[in-house]
Amino acid sequence: MSTVTVQLFASYAEAFGAPQLEVALDPGSTVGDLVRRIRSLPASASLPPSPRVAVNRKFASADKLIGSTDEIALIPPVAGG
């Protein structure tokens, strides 16, 4: 088991009351595993079923493996422009 830091922004940071989360993951975990772990937290009730995740500043699919040094962020629906 290792711990990864997940950056939070905008509405997600408000939902969790913090700019980041520490999430414990088993070795070999994927983005999908991370999302399931986050979805199990009470503060995630307002999140969509499959929130977008970025790994190393790129959108990542659910099957992407997470490395211990990866930069991970949970991305709320974007609203630029």
Partner: protein
């Protein structure tokens, strides 16, 4: 000239137009997104934008590269502002230049559409009653695009 950035200062399109001007081009297209006073029937008094800046700048750079390839345009400037903006202020500027008008116009349209899909920037509307709400385009019906 090809560049993109997330900025915290006022966006002035005039110097951006000057940057792409040359004797080789025959068309400059300028798109400006501005802060309007109503959205979904609510009276808006201001907006604040925030970003995952490093990723936003990476995505903007990718979009500009894709636009260059797709439209054969080598002069593209994109600036997106973050922070608190008042009504009427410019939130995003896209300036494109080409020998002919259609690629310049189409390129600007492509860039703003892609920004709205994939650049991690968020906006919070400030309403006249003092409340503030993060805009979620995926939950809106009949929302009017910027």
């Amino acid at each position: 000239m090809k560049r993109s950035a997330v900025v915290t200062r006022v966006i002035d399109p005039t110097p951006l137009i000057a940057e792409v001007k040359s004797n080789e081009i025959g068309a400059i297209s300028v798109f400006l997104g501005t802060v309007r006073d109503t959205n979904d029937g609510q009276s808006v008094t201001a907006l604040d934008y925030s970003a995952y800046t490093s990723m936003a700048e990476s995505e903007l750079s990718d979009i500009v590269d894709e636009a260059e390839t797709r439209f054969g345009i080598h002069s593209i400037i994109v600036e997106h502002r973050v922070g608190e903006l008042s009504l009427g202020e410019v939130s995003v500027a896209i300036v494109t230049a080409h020998q002919h008008r259609q690629p310049a116009i189409d390129c600007a349209g492509f860039v703003i559409d892609e920004i709205k899909k994939r650049v991690p920037i968020w906006k919070r509307e400030h309403y006249a009653d003092g409340s503030r709400v993060w805009v979620d385009p995926t939950r809106r019906s009949g929302a009017t695009p910027t």
